[in-house]
């Protein structure tokens, strides 16, 4: 067992444990904090996969923005988050059964593919060039400029949509009346 394998196993165990706490914790603020630990574990795995840029984006976008947004939403809807009634639906066992069946099916499928046990190939070229190549491929016309621009438009639409949806009812009504 190499050091990398040990790091992977420890990170995977910590991430899965905090993932379990995210879905099991009755207190939603605690669940959001566990979610941050799970996202940090995924960041470590990105580093292990030598995707440094994605690790940075994971910290900035997921831990920096989405987790904080979720904590804000939990705080703003505090009354229901703290109430004592059950946090899971009546048919939660059905959901657990579906998840376990899916995991069992995926596991059975993955163990039947023999080529998956090989190690990672050596990265071609200098590892520092990956970020540069990634940036160039995102704006290069014969590569991924179209999906990149589509994602930008989607983000802009989501930004405007979130503001419009979250406007207070009175302000939204007044604006609708004027136009």
């Amino acid at each position: 067992m190499t050091v990398l394998q040990l790091i992977f196993l420890l990170t995977a165990a910590a991430t899965l444990a905090s993932g379990m706490m995210v879905v099991a914790s009755p207190n939603l603020v605690h669940a959001a904090l566990w979610l941050i630990i799970a996202l940090a574990g995924v960041t470590v795995l990105f580093v292990l996969l030598e995707a440094g840029f994605l690790a940075v984006v994971q910290v900035a976008v997921y831990i920096g923005a989405i987790a904080i947004l979720i904590i804000f939403a939990v705080m703003l809807t505090r009354r229901i988050a703290a109430d004592s009634q059950s946090q899971v639906t009546r048919s939660w066992w059905l959901a657990a059964l579906a998840s376990l069946l899916l995991f069992g099916g995926l596991l059975a499928m993955l163990t039947q593919i023999p080529t998956l046990t090989a190690g990672a190939p050596v990265l071609p070229g200098n590892p520092d060039d990956i970020v540069r190549d990634l940036g160039q491929s995102l704006v290069s016309l014969d590569q991924y400029v179209l999906p990149f621009e589509t994602a930008s438009v989607l983000l802009l639409a989501a930004l405007i949509g979130a503001i419009v949806i979250a406007l207070p009812p009175k302000a939204a009504g007044a604006e609708g009346g004027e136009s």
């Binding site: 995924v42 995707a51 976008v61 989405i66 939403a73 998956l116 046990t117 990672a120 989501a158």
Partner: protein, 102 residues
């Protein structure tokens, strides 16, 4: 060396945990947390396949970046919807938000 199957099994486990959270929790914010876990599992898969199968071809990383953008939009719009619903109905429990259920 870490085999590719370890990453795939880990991602499958994380996806199933997120799926359980999205299906079983009553609070809408907790459902969104489950969806975020599922999206993270998918990203792990995309990057692992990039690293092990096509390291010279950046499509896997670009795909993961698009998933990041979609996840950010989804979280922003979803939480805005939840806050808007909470203002109107004073609840964020998914089964009580049933105006469209007939």
């Amino acid at each position: 060396m870490i085999p590719l199957s370890w990453y795939l099994i880990f991602a499958a486990a994380l996806f199933c945990i997120g799926l359980y959270g999205a299906l079983a929790r009553r609070n809408s914010v907790a459902i969104i947390m489950g969806i975020e876990l599922m999206l993270n599992a998918v990203n792990i898969n995309l990057v692992a396949f990039w690293r092990y199968i096509t390291p010279g071809f950046l499509a896997g990383q670009v795909f993961a970046i698009i998933v990041f953008a979609v996840a950010a939009s989804e979280a922003a719009v979803g939480l805005a919807l939840i806050i808007s619903i909470y203002r109107k109905r004073s609840t964020v429990v998914a089964e009580e938000i049933d105006m469209l259920k007939w």
